[in-house]
């Protein structure tokens, strides 16, 4: 059982012939006669009530047949009529056709007003165009079709992101529309070196994915690795970058995120400029960045807009919060269960007084309270907004007052759970990892006291140091120590002193295992 999970958890490629097979089998020429095309499309889209197949006859004696195919509502009909249909009708009714053979080129070059035009050479491309919201023009006697991009804009307004807020800096967050998102990025980096590579993923959904990086800044090896890993994703549906994240993570079982995710525009641009690679996905405002290092969990965009002293102080505070959040319940349990001798005498009395009459052991007590809090938190995320107030009242009273009054939990435990909870929200990327670690530390503390805590901490550290994100050591710049990158780690130096880009991202051959090994292999051709 373990073996199977482990095998799947590795980002190893076992088969990648699936995609090719699909391509080979479906090369199908576009029939020359419009009627045949219509029939074929009718077959393909049978049962799709939203497909529109419209035949136009134009020219002298209505000899030229054109089939317009699109999906209702997906294209902007107004633009389609204005820029495509009307010019065609006007043109052919006024112009004497000399050679019929040139109709396709004429249409493409001087009739249709729309700028976004492509040719579809086979049926598959044509169908792809239709399902992605483009209008297809099939012309009688041609074995290719004209793809006109008249997609209706379907997106919400660019708003301030819900999950990430900052005191200073831009408030623009990404939206569900991929093109809007690329524009948001492009707007901030006016440079042709900003590359946007589009690919499609998902056997059923055929979702547009965009690999975004700055050529010359991003490490080519990493970009290639991203392409490679994305290509290997075999899944029916790519509904969110969260799915991609799980496929491309270096260590798929690790609690710690090795792929960054965010919906803040300026944050992403900053990461691109540092040399990271972004992965955008149509249909979700969350954008991935790789490589993602541990230190990024305590970085925020505000750090670079504020005085470096305060920013550094905040970094230290976040680091402290992270430790407190994962260790505090464990330390409390270790103290009151094993290490009474190191508690100062006066604290001892108040500790003992608060423990007096509590029927559970400190471990059970802490466990119950933390679980109760986690439930409350989860409920807060899931429930309809209108109920929020009721929940917060119940939560505050039950967790705070009543549990103490009823003698189920001690006063101090409530404080500890509260501090733990507050601290866990300081570093949002690590919330899940910290939550699980908290229980592990708690259990370890209950079995072995401080010895258990330190053993667990060592194990966690070893794990962290062994992690890689796209070949880059996760704990960089601390392990391996990259002194040039320490400028933006626990402390932040002023922005005018931060003159070099992160060195660790530029390294050609990262020493290590897993992802890196494959980086080297792929250099050969």
């Amino acid at each position: 059982m373990f073996g199977r999970i482990k095998k799947r958890s590795k980002t190893e490629n076992t088969n990648n012939d699936d995609n090719n097979a699909q391509v080979d089998s479906s090369i199908e020429q576009i029939p020359k006669k419009v009627e045949d095309v219509k029939e074929r499309l009718g077959e393909i889209f049978s049962g799709c009530s939203d497909i529109v197949l419209r035949e136009i006859s134009c020219g002298k004696e209505e000899r030229i047949g054109i089939l317009v195919a699109y999906i209702n509502g997906f294209v902007d009909k107004k633009i389609l009529n204005q820029d495509v249909i009307r010019p065609i009708l006007d043109y052919f009714s006024n112009t004497e056709l000399q050679e019929e053979r040139c109709i396709f080129e004429r249409l493409k070059e001087c009739v249709v007003i729309n700028n976004d035009m492509k040719e579809a050479n086979d049926m598959r491309q044509a169908v792809d165009g239709i399902v992605s919201g483009e209008a297809l023009l099939f012309i009688d006697g041609e074995d290719k079709a004209l793809v006109v991009g008249v997609k209706a804009p379907q997106t919400r307004q660019v708003e301030e992101p819900y999950t990430e807020t900052s005191a200073k800096g831009a408030r623009e967050g990404f939206v569900e529309n991929l093109i809007t998102n690329t524009v948001l990025i492009r707007k901030r980096i006016k440079n042709p070196n900003l590359k946007m590579e589009m690919i499609r993923l998902g056997k059923q959904t055929r979702t547009d994915i965009c690999i975004c990086y700055i050529k010359g800044i991003a490490n080519e090896q990493i970009v290639e690795e991203v392409r490679e890993r994305l290509r290997k994703i075999k899944n029916d549906a790519i509904l969110d970058t969260g799915i991609i994240e799980q496929f491309i993570s270096d260590n798929r079982l690790s609690l710690f995120p090795t792929v960054g995710s965010g919906e803040k525009c300026d944050k992403l641009v900053g990461k691109l400029l540092e040399g990271r690679v972004a992965i955008l996905c149509d249909g979700t405002p969350y954008v991935l960045t790789v490589p993602y290092l541990f230190i990024e969990s305590i970085q925020t965009t505000d750090d670079y807009f504020e005085h470096a002293f305060f920013a550094s102080l905040m970094r230290l505070l976040r680091l402290l919060a992270m430790m407190v959040s994962s260790l505090l319940p464990g330390i409390y349990v270790a103290l009151v269960s094993f290490h009474h001798t190191i508690i100062p005498y006066k604290l001892m009395i108040s500790l003992a007084a608060s423990r007096e009459g509590v029927p559970f052991s400190p471990f059970i007590e802490a466990f119950l309270m933390i679980v109760a809090f986690e439930m409350l938190r989860e409920a807060g995320v899931r429930m309809p907004r209108q109920i929020g107030q009721a929940l917060s009242i119940v939560g505050a009273i039950v967790l705070g007052e009543a549990s103490v009054a009823a003698g189920i939990a001690s006063n101090l435990m409530v404080i500890i759970v509260a501090i733990t909870a507050i601290c866990s929200f300081v570093t949002p990327p690590l919330i899940r990892a910290i939550m699980l670690l908290r229980f592990v530390f708690l259990a370890a503390a209950n079995f072995l006291g401080f010895l258990g805590i330190s053993l667990t901490a060592v194990a966690v550290l070893i794990h962290l140091c062994s992690l890689r994100s796209f070949g880059i050591p996760y704990m960089a710049p601390f392990s391996p120590l990259t002194s040039a990158d320490l400028k933006d780690s626990i402390i932040v130096v002023p922005i005018w002193a931060m003159v070099t880009r992160p060195k660790i991202l530029r390294q050609e051959k990262a020493s290590g295992k897993k992802g890196t090994k494959r980086l080297e292999v792929e250099e050969k051709p």
Partner: protein
């Protein structure tokens, strides 16, 4: 990546699981909940008529402390007692401590002992053997205060109901800490006592506590030991002289008179040291040297204190006074108790080891008959923020 030896991996997984399970099955060695222990704040040891040990412990009732300190008496009329005191007679200390478990509900927790009070009778009989348990046990905090009860049994002090602090043991300890800043009691931590007991060149001394009222104690003076047995007391001035000589005074108020003016001077820093002068391989003179810095705290006299001469005379008077106090302490130690509490022997051991080897056993007698030389150098640093008293006179 095909694992041919799948069976082996399964076995590994089982082994790992088997290794994890015992962890859950452990009895959790030394795992004890805070609510399942009795916090001991003070302990008293005394001897009984039939040679047994009377052990008294003062156990804190945390909830009672909390309610009294927060001021909101939840219980209303029935005020819960903040401590309870239990005694048990046993042949040994350990037996007595375990015996107490037959009286109290929860196990005793000894790390929180603030003060260990030794009875007069027990001290006279000798404390070296009794203290073995406290060194051997892993729970004992070596920084607890050790003090001797004079004219009262430790049990009485621990049973006292004091108004100033809900826990009598803490009250005693804080009193000692206060008195130390007057230089009239010696504060001895357990670890210091152990060191002194093991040191043949210096006899141990302990602070002493006596009862002065129903609810009050006084900590002043010193208990002098010789070879682990209590031999006598030093009063507060002797104590100060003794502490000045061994450089243990944090601060002290010294009263002197000059031309009918009463002057109180506060010693703010002092450094003392003892030496033994040798001639021809034999000790000839005990030498005590003290440097002190003082402020004038009060001057109930006439005239200004503004000239260097006036201050110099004050310095001389202070030096005389300090010398006198050291003298009486030293004389008492020599003539009355014949116990080298000053640690001259330590000096001899360090600088004349050959002589020490032979004289170690008789050192206290040798010490008693040696002449004494005391040098005091006092400096007055400040005379306060006024220059002239109200009644300036002429």
């Amino acid at each position: 990546m095909i694992y041919k030896d799948g069976k082996k991996r399964n076995i590994m997984a089982i082994i790992i699981l088997l290794l994890i399970f015992p962890l859950l099955l452990t009895g959790c060695w030394s795992h004890r909940d805070l609510a399942e222990i009795n916090i001991v704040a003070g302990m008293g040891l005394d001897g009984t008529d039939d040679g047994k040990i009377l052990l008294t412990v003062q156990v804190v009732e945390p909830t009672a402390i909390q309610t009294t300190s927060s001021g909101s008496g939840k219980g209303g009329g029935s005020q819960q007692k903040s401590v309870f005191v239990v005694s048990y007679e046993g042949e040994t200390v350990f037996e007595a401590i375990r015996g107490i478990l037959s009286i109290v509900d929860k196990k005793l927790f000894l790390s929180t002992i603030q003060v260990l009070i030794l009875g007069e009778r027990l001290s006279q009989e000798g404390i070296e053997e009794i203290l073995d348990f406290f060194q051997r046990d892993n729970e004992i905090d070596y920084s607890m205060d050790v003090i001797v009860a004079k004219g009262v049994s430790p049990k009485e002090i621990l049973e006292m109901e004091c108004d100033l602090n809900p826990i009598p043991a803490v009250y005693v300890r804080e009193t000692v800490a206060n008195t130390v800043s007057r230089g009239t009691v010696k504060r001895t931590m357990f670890i210091d006592l152990i060191k002194d007991l093991g040191n043949k060149g210096k006899q141990p001394t302990l602070g002493l506590v006596s009862k002065i009222g129903e609810k009050e104690v006084k900590t002043e003076g010193t208990a002098v030991f010789k070879d682990g047995k209590l031999v006598g007391w030093l009063d507060r001035y002797e104590t100060r002289g003794y502490l000045l000589a061994v450089s243990k005074v944090e601060s002290a108020i010294v009263n002197v008179t000059k031309d009918e003016a009463k002057i109180a001077m506060e010693i703010i820093r002092s450094r003392g040291g003892v030496k033994v002068k040798f001639e021809n391989g034999e000790p000839t003179l005990l030498s005590v040297k003290v440097d002190a810095e003082a402020n004038v705290g009060e001057y109930e006299g006439k005239g200004r204190l503004d000239s260097a001469e006036k201050v110099n005379t004050l310095e001389e008077i202070l030096e005389k006074e300090i010398e006198r106090e050291i003298m009486i302490a030293l004389e008492k130690a020599q003539k009355e108790y014949s116990s080298d509490i000053f640690g001259f022997g330590t000096y001899v051991r360090k600088y004349h080891p050959q002589y020490w080897k032979n004289a170690e056993k008789d050192w206290n007698d040798i010490f008693s008959y040696l002449p004494v030389d005391i040098q005091v150098d006092a400096k007055i640093m400040r005379t306060g923020i006024i220059k002239s008293p109200l009644n300036m006179g002429e």
